[in-house]
Every structure is written in C-alpha cells, then in structure tokens.
C-alpha cells in the first residue's frame, strides 16, 4: 500500500478565491451539471457550484442552504470516519450529525488555515474519541450488513471475511485513543502523516510513532493466525 496512500480531499483553501458569493449566487451557472440533491430536495443551484470559501461566507451570512451543500460534499467521508470508530451504523449516523452540528456552531472560528475537510476531520476525531471513551463500540452482527456489496464472493468466503473483519474491528477498538485515531486516519482515510498531525495537533514524528505502536499492538491482539 505505502505509496498508494495519497490523500485527496478536494477543496483546498484558496484565500483569494472569490468573496463575492452573493453575486454568483444571484446569477447561478451550473455548467450543465445535474443539480445536487440537498436535504432530500433538489439542490440549491445557487450554492452548488461555489467553492468552500464562498460557502462558508454564505453560511455566516445566514444562508443555511450553503451549509446543506457543505454537508452534501463531506457527509460520506465524515460518516466513514465515524463508522471506523464505532463500527455500527446507528452510532456513526448520530456522530456524523453531531460533527456537522458542531461545525456549524463553530463555523465563525474556521479561519481557513487548513481545508474545510481537515477541519471537519478534526471535529470528527474529537467527537468520536469523546464518544468511544465513554461507550464501548458495538460492532454490527454479520446479518445486519446486508447492504454491503460483496461482489462475486461465495457464501463461505463472505462468512470468513466477515468474521475476520469483526476481529480486526474489535482489536482496533481496543487500541489507545491516539493510536486508534492515527491508524484510522492513515489506513482508512488515507491521509498523509502531515495531515494527520494537523488533525491531531501533533508532530509528524509523533504520528509515525503512534502508527508504529498501533500496528504493533494490532499484531499482538490479532495473533498470528489471522495475519
């Protein structure tokens, strides 16, 4: 994997990107793209094409539709992050909602020093770490995972893979907080060490050390038979 761990969260901060969201929102051009779906309804095309700088400004000006677009763009990655921490759909859904609610409340504090995605990750990791520290993750049973696309796997293969995945999830859930967060961000969210350091507020060296210990502990917890 190594080199393939190229992080690609879209929408990096562009300070001089337009500050005139009002003008563009008033004269929407969607470039022929299909309007986005926001909150179960046709997307607000006036905001769907704006970059994150303009979206944040619009939110601060009281345009809730702009935040709908932010949610739409980041909901999947935020949900996946939360799922990696709690390993069940219900909790991941609740935590994801909490992440966006906290982000909205703190939007005025977003200075653009990092991308909006990194900022959301930072909130997400804090929310998840606080949650898992007070609640033991409850992994879903194999029967509850009917919606997972298993492709051409046979039933025995699915069963074996499901059991193996459950053991790995349980082992990850036992890792210390920083190690768990580092492993999740590195392996599942494919963030660089520097980006993880930004999210966790630590150094690249500390991230690598945490990752090293996380993998070592994972190896011990899983034993030789599963590796």
């Amino acid at each position: 994997m190594g080199q393939s761990l190229a992080w690609s969260i879209p929408g990096t901060w562009q300070p001089q990107a337009n500050r005139a969201w009002r003008e563009r929102a008033a004269d929407p051009v969607v470039d022929g793209a299909k309007p986005r779906s926001v909150a179960g309804a046709p997307a607000d095309v006036a905001f769907g094409h704006l970059d994150e700088t303009a979206l944040v400004e619009a939110c601060l000006a009281g345009r809730l539709e702009a935040f709908d677009v932010i949610v739409e763009r980041h909901r999947r990655t935020v949900y996946q992050l939360c799922y990696r921490f709690v390993s069940n759909h219900e909790d991941a859904s609740d935590l994801s909602q909490d992440v966006f609610l906290r982000a909205y409340r703190g939007l005025r504090g977003f200075r653009g020093g990092s991308s909006l995605a990194t900022w959301l990750y930072r909130i997400g990791v804090n929310v998840c770490l606080n949650r898992v520290s007070i609640k033991t993750p409850q992994t879903e049973s194999i029967d509850e995972r009917q919606h997972v696309d298993r492709g051409a796997e046979s039933a025995p293969e699915r069963l074996l893979k499901g059991e193996r995945a459950a053991r790995v999830r349980a082992a990850i859930a036992q890792l210390p907080r920083k190690q768990r967060a580092t492993l999740i961000l590195r392996i599942y969210q494919e963030m660089s060490h520097q980006q993880i350091a930004d999210v966790l507020g630590s150094s690249v060296g500390a991230v690598k050390a945490n990752f090293f210990h996380a993998l070592g502990n994972l190896k011990k917890l899983l034993g030789d038979e599963i590796l």
Binding site: M1, Q97, R108, A209
Partner: protein, 201 residues
C-alpha cells in the same frame, strides 16, 4: 549494532523508503521480522470494508442535519460583531457630548476645567496665543447642529447601547472635555464652523 527506529520502519513498510536504502535490514533478522509484522498488520487492517449505507440514507441524513441546524439557530456572532454597533453608537455619543460641553465651557467666563490644570502647565506660548482665539460664538448656532446630529441617532440604537452597558454620563463628558487641550478645542470648533458654513450654503 543499531536497530531501525520506528519512523524508519514505518517509512519502509509504507514504501516511502526502498528496502535497499536500509543496509541494516540485510544483516538483522529482528528488524526484518518487525518490518514483516508491520506490513501484515497494515494489510489486515486495510482489508476491512466500510459498510455502505443504503443510497436513501444520504438524503435522509442531510435532512436530519438541516432540521437540527435550523432548530439550533444561526451561527453565533463573534464578540466584535456583537459589540461593533454599540461601540460605534457610544463613540458617536461621546463626540457629540464633548462638543456640546466644550462649547458651553468656551462661553463660560473664568471657567477652568478641573482636569485641565496639568495640561495647561505644559502648553506652549503658541497654544496660549491660540487659546485667545477660542471665543464664544455670538448666537452659537453650532448647538443646533449638535442637536440635529443627536436627533439622528435612533432611540433604538441608544437603547441597544444602554443594554450593552455603554451608556455615557455627563460627568464622563466633562472629564473628557476638561482634558482637551486648547488646540484640540479650537480644532473641534473649526470643524463645527466648517459644517455650519456648508449647511448654510
């Protein structure tokens, strides 16, 4: 013999550094074993799928977030945004009151503000000469201008300033005016005269 450090092993396991760059690996079974374990753990962790929710979930999720935020209200305003209006009103009020009081002081013969003594002791001869020019206006029409300015400040804005604890007091204005130098008072009167001339034109 120095074994590879954790950072070096991570770089090797992720492929950020080629194994050929670590000559130590060729002679150390312990480091090779640790590297193999790291790669095996990474592979095991990476093999766990993300459980994909139903496609219908996303719209439902967005609607939930939308409703929660709508119920929560607008993002809180920053401290500066909350204080900007009351502060500007208070500053405006202070200037107006200072102007009124200074004009009245100028018309009162023999009046010496209590706070002006230290300032007066440092005034230059030029300032003292200029002070002689600060004479009261015959009909003092500048007071009308001040009254007009004050009337343009809406009652609601005064209330807002009061609510923020930014009310001004006459005593405060007296002190402020008392600390104005003769030159500053002269400049204030010049500005008022200029404004009166413009209004009269």
């Amino acid at each position: 013999m120095r074994h590879l450090q954790s950072e070096e092993l991570i770089d090797l396991a992720e492929g950020a550094q080629p194994e050929s760059s670590a000559l130590h690996l060729q002679t150390c079974d312990e480091c090779r074993r640790r590297l193999t374990d790291l790669r095996a753990a990474m592979a095991a962790a990476a093999d766990v799928d993300v459980l994909e929710p139903s496609p219908l979930f996303w719209d439902h999720f967005s609607a939930r977030v939308h409703d929660a935020i709508a119920a929560d209200g607008a993002p809180p305003r920053s401290l500066w945004d909350r204080l900007a209006l009351p502060l500007s009103i208070a500053a405006c009020a202070a200037v107006i009151i200072a102007a009124v009081v200074s004009l009245r002081v100028g018309r009162t013969p023999g009046f010496v503000p209590s706070g002006s003594a230290p300032v007066a002791s440092h005034t230059s001869p030029a300032d003292e000469l200029a002070d002689a020019d600060v004479a009261p206006f015959p009909d003092d029409p500048s007071l009308d201008l001040v009254a007009d300015l004050a009337s343009q400040v809406a009652q609601a804005e005064w209330d807002a300033a009061g609510a923020q604890g930014l009310e001004t007091h006459e005593d405060t204005a007296d002190k402020a005016v008392g600390q104005l130098s003769a030159g500053e008072r002269r400049e204030l009167q010049r500005l008022l005269k200029e404004e009166l001339t413009r209004r009269g034109a």
